[in-house]
């Protein structure tokens, strides 16, 4: 059997990637695999190719079409790329971000008319640095997956050519309900701002449009400013991540444009639930919070913050976590200080007095609040997020004689 043709083919593939290989050595390897070990010729070609790819630190094609071992590259639109593909894109660098590791030379987002994708240029690729805003032809890069999100890898076999076009490329914003992991653009309103949960976090909160809501996170980086609550923004090329099967938008890479005016947002986020409080959870009542700016975590009894350790200069706060039950469904509720104060009629300073002057300490506040609220009918208004109702207002229900009369009629009617 003649192996020179196959060997030549493999050699060509590597010379395209600027690597020189020993054709005779390849031929020898192929012969050994096929003649001595009974490997099918196509499989032998594949395994020799992969061995060489590894040797040159090029991405190995794991699963394949079989008919094109070594990976044929196709010119594609970004939206059509699937992990495992070797691709050639003509795309614009719409965002560059600071690489998280020295093995990465550049990372950011590439876009064409069809969509956008995250990309990484390995330092080892020795590729020319790309400039934000310019179009490039990127040949023979690999699409893979990182945490379930497609990402384009530029390796030493990839060629990058600047195209000289200056198409501005304006992305079409998607609706929030249509977002999926990867890169997305939306036009939405900032409807809520939440406490930050990490010291590197600049802001987090909730964005809404007519179709839904999504959490957003903005990390502290030079040039980043907080979003204004109540304002509408066009957000281009944000990273859409998934955590606990909920999507969230990371705005680090995004281009943000504050817009004039208002926009309608989904009303379904606002709910009012009438029911009985059937459980008050531990951790309710008076709590101590970490005083470090931007932390605000609840401290343990020993004033221990999971991030900032012992914090003797803690800040007191009130909250109630519990379950509100309407007889059909039980809703996890979270009440912040203002709501707790108006519902229990125990203001924070009074709660602090109780906690500091009573033998039971903070437990006494918990018990008093539990005895006032447990088993009572209330109506809670707020937003339901991640299966938890963040309560904006909560009032005790009052007996209504109109309702009584209507029920008497209903029960007294002919069956």
């Amino acid at each position: 059997m003649d192996y020179s043709e196959t060997a030549q083919r493999i050699s060509r593939k590597f010379s395209q990637k600027n690597q020189t290989v020993d054709v005779l050595k390849i031929e020898g390897k192929l012969r050994r695999l096929v003649d001595e070990f009974g490997v099918l010729p196509s499989e032998a070609e594949r395994s020799v190719t992969n061995e060489l790819l590894k040797e040159f630190n090029l991405p190995v094609v794991t699963s394949g079409s079989g008919s094109s071992p070594g990976g044929a590259t196709e010119q594609k639109k970004i939206a059509d790329a699937i992990p495992g593909d070797w691709v050639t894109f003509e795309a614009r660098v719409v965002s560059l971000s600071t690489p998280v590791s020295t093995s990465i030379a550049q990372s950011g987002i590439l876009a064409d008319e069809s969509g956008a994708i995250r990309f990484v240029v390995w330092t080892k690729a020795s590729a020319p640095a790309m400039t934000e805003g310019l179009w490039y032809r990127i040949e023979s890069a690999v699409v893979d997956e990182y945490k379930g999100i497609p990402s384009l890898k530029v390796h030493s076999g990839t060629t990058i050519k600047e195209m000289g076009t200056a198409d501005p490329l304006i992305p079409v914003p998607a609706q929030i309900k249509d977002l999926h992991t990867g890169v997305g653009s939306v036009r939405a309103k900032v409807v809520q701002e939440w406490d930050v949960t990490h010291e590197r976090m600049l802001q987090q909160g909730l964005l809404a449009d007519e179709t839904g809501t999504i959490k957003f996170v903005l990390w502290k980086e030079p040039g980043k400013e907080r979003l204004e609550v109540g304002s509408v923004y066009s957000i281009f090329y944000a990273l859409v991540d998934e955590y606990n099967s909920r999507l969230s938008l990371n705005l680090s890479t995004a281009t943000l444009m504050q817009e004039e005016g208002d926009m309608p947002t989904i009303s379904g986020g606002d709910v009012a639930i009438r029911g009985a409080i059937v459980h008050i959870a531990p951790g309710s009542g008076i709590i101590k919070r970490c005083p470090v700016e931007g932390c605000n975590r609840a401290l343990s009894r020993q004033n221990y913050c999971p991030i900032h350790e012992i914090q003797p200069n803690f800040v007191y706060d009130l909250r109630i976590k519990g379950w509100l039950d309407d007889g059909e469904k039980t809703h996890n509720i979270l009440l912040q200080r203002e709501v707790v104060e108006s519902l229990t009629k125990i203001p924070l300073d009074a709660a602090v007095q109780i906690a500091e002057n009573n033998p039971l300490g903070m437990d006494e506040v918990f018990l008093r609040m539990r005895d006032t609220l447990l088993g009572r009918y209330v109506i809670c208004r707020g937003r339901e997020i991640d299966n938890r109702l963040l309560v904006n207002s909560c009032e005790r229900l009052a007996f209504e004689s109109g309702e009584h009369a209507a029920l008497l009629n209903r029960a007294g009617g002919v069956s």
Binding site: G375, Y377, L407
Partner: protein, 200 residues
Amino acid sequence: MSMNARDVGKKDAPFEREPARRVFAAELRECRYQFKEGEEEKSPTFVLLPTGERSNRIYLVGTLTEKQRQGDQNLFYRGRVVDPTGTFFVMAGSYQPEAMQQIAKIETPAFVAVVGKPSVYQKDPASTPMVSVRIESINIVDKETRDLWVLDTAARTLDRIDAHAKGEGKDIEKAKEQYPTLDPAVFKKMAYEALAQIRI
């Protein structure tokens, strides 16, 4: 096909707490059938209400008229909570230390709100089955809360009777099978009488 609790990741099924059903004492007293959903040890047990709804938990408001401390090694409390239609038999054992402390503090008579788990038991094969409620929490409340509960429970009971008549609901067939002699109209009359006892 039974779902293994360990296989149900957070992703697929976020924890759902069983809702507390609203049921009058006169209806709960009629329960005879209870069943378990799933094979796991921790799978919830349900009591089937005669109006055709499963109930793993109930919320009730009434007057605690009597309470009794029982047992030496295994201390527990029994109590009677009365609503306009009859009596709930409630109990709190050493496995519910919080509930036991709560009921210990309450002096009878008092309006109480109880959240708990109903179950059907029989002292011996010859005796009539009883329904008792294992207390998760018990708390003193006011008369207005009691009245609100009567309205709420009447409304929920009437909803169940309507669903029963239309055959809408996954447990209605089971209820017809298990309680062939019970006419839901009885519970409509019961709801009316409960409502009529509230003086405005």
